[in-house]
């Protein structure tokens, strides 16, 4: 019910090489799916099709069993959390006000907004130290990214989109946040569709992995099966990750 369903989706027909070409994928409710692929493989486009920042040229995208064409775009976007690649925190709002944006758009009363902001800051570990009154430019990259996650989760959307959520961080912070994400996800069980160019991150966080190449889904299966995949393109992506830590928390790239 809370799933996302891509059915033979094509996008960017007008171009010489379409961005997406007959793309099909089903993300079940409560499942985390990671899309991996080289830059320009169409990963971000896939996400933008979910919250109707884009509409498919052909095929259909369904969210909660309903075509995005049929959704009111505003309602759809408020039901889908989006953690954006370069965070996109509002520089003129404090941390608390950033997190409170969607609840306020939804018309929550002040007490409920305050309670929810406190809850989320606790969830992302920024509840102590007066972070709620800080400004985005006073935070470290990792803290900004956490606020971005909190903001996406604020109105408790059933679906969460994550675009390279930990891409801009140093390896240590990245690993730490990945751990936190798994902890949060095991509690919240959101339907998560994330894109990353980092295979290790995908293996560490996702239930299933899809590999996107030139606008097509060339492989899809349980995360750990990807190590045994035979498709040469997939092997190439996997072999780029030389070390995968045995505990599965991901590894460093060469």
């Amino acid at each position: 019910m809370d799933g996302v369903d891509f059915r033979q989706v094509s996008f960017g027909h007008a171009r010489e090489r379409p961005i997406l070409d007959g793309f099909s994928l089903t993300v079940e409710g409560g499942e985390t799916v990671a899309l991996v692929g080289a830059s320009g493989a169409g990963k971000t486009t896939v996400l933008k099709l979910v919250n109707r920042l884009l509409l498919p040229d052909a095929g259909d995208v369904q969210v909660q069993g309903r075509s995005t064409r049929a959704w009111d775009p505003i309602r759809l976007r408020r039901a889908v959390g989006y953690v954006i690649q370069d965070v996109g925190l509002f520089p003129h709002l404090t941390v608390a006000d950033n997190v409170a944006v969607v609840p306020r758009l939804e018309g929550w009363d002040a007490a409920r907004v305050r309670a929810r902001v406190g809850e989320l800051l606790a969830l992302i570990g920024l509840d102590a130290g007066g972070y709620e009154a800080r400004w985005p430019d006073e935070l470290s990259g990792g803290q900004r990214q956490r606020v971005g996650v909190a903001r996406a989760l604020a109105a408790d959307p059933p679906v969460l989109l994550m675009d390279e959520p930990f891409g801009a961080l140093d390896p240590i912070t990245r690993r730490q946040l990945q751990g936190e994400f798994r902890r949060i996800q095991s509690r919240l069980r959101k339907t998560v569709l994330m894109v990353t160019h980092d295979m290790a991150e995908a293996i560490a966080l996702a239930d299933r992995i899809g590999v996107l190449d030139a606008g097509r889904l060339i492989w899809c299966g349980p995360a750990h099966d990807i190590l045994r995949a035979e498709d040469p393109h997939v092997r190439q992506l996997v072999e780029a990750v030389t070390v995968v830590a045995p505990d599965g928390t991901g590894g460093a790239r060469p």
Binding site: R78, Y82, I84, V87, F90, P91, V101, L105, W135, D137
Partner: protein, 510 residues
């Protein structure tokens, strides 16, 4: 410098009023321009195809010289005419460009990822504008308003030309009196005001930037808005015209300022009516238009000027016929010509006393002989008027070394005295004539029509206030050419104010 301070001290009340008018003009025009310009800029930022033509139009408006703009607006109903309203329109037009442009820059400069985050979070276009785009564009918008306001302080000095008041009055008065002190008396406060406005808005701009608004984000905006509202309310109260007010106007040279004061004070003394002064209007046509529209009730005109410049009749040298024709033409358009004040301010063709003596020049015909070696300088009006330069040149066969130089009338005397030109057309009653050792050449072929000084009033006003007619009639024949020249010299030469000169004259004649 001590002169300047003395001038300010002596005129402190007037200075305060003029500065108040100045601030008001700028504040009101900027408030209106922001109310129009910010929405326009927002619209253009979201419709790029609209932005280019919009900025182009605003650019063109910006390049029209302000005096020309006042000229264009004179005949426009409601918006044009003279006074604060027309000045406001011009200032608003000038302020639009920087405000529109900075709004476009501010909105389009919002970080793409921030805007995208807003859209992806399900903001409607309105919510995005109000919660993300406008707050982030605000410092840029305030920067544009700051530019517009500083430019506006400068442009507003020109508003004095159409009787909107402000510090420009001192500048114009100083120019007509050829008195640097008076010019500075207006120019320095205007410059200080510009600096003050610049600093104040710079502070606001910093307070509104993401770094500056750490505390009380809205307080700064609210403070600024409150100040503007207060200024506007005060100004509106100040400029409201009560029903029992007589508006006296004058053109923008010394004699006219004195005559304006004289008429105004005479009405105040005799009738007890409230008189509002619209002195220093920028020329005959502005005064005439204002009298026609009812912005002005009375001013002093010259019969020859009315005949040719206002009513476009061929020049005539028959004094009686001129007065009769002009009286009839005024009557046809609802105005009443009152009896002449007693002196004839004909154009005076002037040369340096030294030249006149050395070359034995007595008449204009004498000057025509040496003219091919000479340069001439004339006021803008004299170049154009039917009874001006062209007819004069034809009558006397005048031809100069090069085409006459056009300059402000008030500057021609100085230009002649310092040898930049050799012949000018001044006023026969100019106080400067004696002081600068200039000689008036006789109009031996009677080219110039008579220029008897006569009050002209709206017939409607005289019907409503018969006592005004009585007062103006009592002035008939009371001011001789000698009186006028002396009064002009008192102002131009001895820095007395037109008010006190007029007052002394009325006291003496009592």
């Amino acid at each position: 410098m001590t002169d300047l301070v003395q001038f300010w001290l002596a005129h402190r009340q007037e200075l305060a009023t003029l500065a108040g008018q100045h601030v008001l003009l700028v504040a009101a025009s900027i408030a209106i321009a922001a109310a129009i310009g910010v929405p326009l800029g927002v619209l253009a930022a979201h419709r790029p195809r609209l932005a280019a033509p919009l900025v182009a139009i605003a650019n063109v408006v910006q390049t029209v010289p302000s005096l020309a703009m006042f000229g264009f607006l004179l005949p426009v109903p409601f918006l044009g005419g003279i006074g604060a309203r027309a000045a406001l329109v011009v200032l608003v037009l000038y302020a639009l460009l920087p405000i529109v442009r900075s709004t476009i820059v501010g909105i389009t400069g919002v970080d793409r990822s921030v805007r995208e985050a807003g859209v992806a979070m399900g903001m409607t276009p309105r919510e995005l504008l109000r919660q993300v785009e406008l707050p982030l564009a605000l410092p840029a918008i305030v920067a544009g308003i700051r530019v517009a306001a500083v430019v506006g302080v400068g442009s507003a000095t020109i508003a004095a030309a159409i009787g909107a008041g402000g510090l420009g009055q001192y500048i114009y008065r100083g120019l007509s009196m050829v008195d640097t002190t008076v010019i500075l008396a207006g120019a320095i406060p205007a410059a200080l005001l510009a600096l003050l406005v610049d600093g104040g808005l710079w502070w606001l701009e910093r307070r509104l930037s993401p770094r500056g608004r750490r505390r009380s984000p809205r307080a700064a905006l609210a403070t600024a808005a409150a100040i503007v509202a207060l200024l506007l309310a005060g100004g509106a109260a100040m400029t409201a015209r009560s029903a029992d007010t007589i508006v006296v106007a004058s053109k923008n040279f010394t004699e006219q300022l004195i005559l304006g004061e004289l008429v105004a004070q005479a009405i105040e003394r005799d009738t007890g009516l409230t008189v509002r002064r619209q002195l220093n209007l920028g020329g005959t046509l502005i005064c005439d238009r204002a009298l026609r529209t009812g912005d002005v009730d009375v001013y002093v005109e010259y019969t020859g000027t009315a005949l040719t410049a206002i009513f476009h009749q061929p020049p005539s040298t028959d004094r009686e016929a001129v007065t009769q024709t002009v009286r009839q033409l005024y009557a046809d358009s609802g105005r009443t010509l009152l009896p002449p004040l007693g002196f004839d301010n004909t154009f005076a063709i002037l040369v340096r006393g030294a030249d006149a003596r050395a070359l034995g020049l007595k008449t204009i015909a004498d000057a025509a002989r040496v003219a091919p070696r000479w340069r001439a300088g004339f006021g803008y009006e004299f170049q154009e008027r039917p009874d001006g330069y062209h007819g004069l040149a034809k009558t006397y066969g005048l031809a100069f070394r090069e085409p006459p130089q056009a300059m402000d009338l008030s500057i021609t005397y100085r230009a002649l005295a310092t040898g930049q030109v050799d012949l000018i057309a001044g006023d026969a009653t100019a106080g400067l004539i004696g002081r600068l050792d200039l000689v008036q050449l006789e109009d031996n072929r009677h080219y110039f029509p008579p220029y008897d000084a006569v009050p002209v009033a709206r017939a409607e006003t005289l019907l409503r206030f018969p006592q005004v007619r009585t007062t103006l009639q009592r002035l008939a024949g009371r001011i001789s050419a000698v009186d006028m020249r002396a009064m002009n010299d008192a102002v131009d030469g001895h820095r007395e104010s037109p008010e006190s000169v007029a007052q002394r004259f009325l006291d003496r004649r009592r």
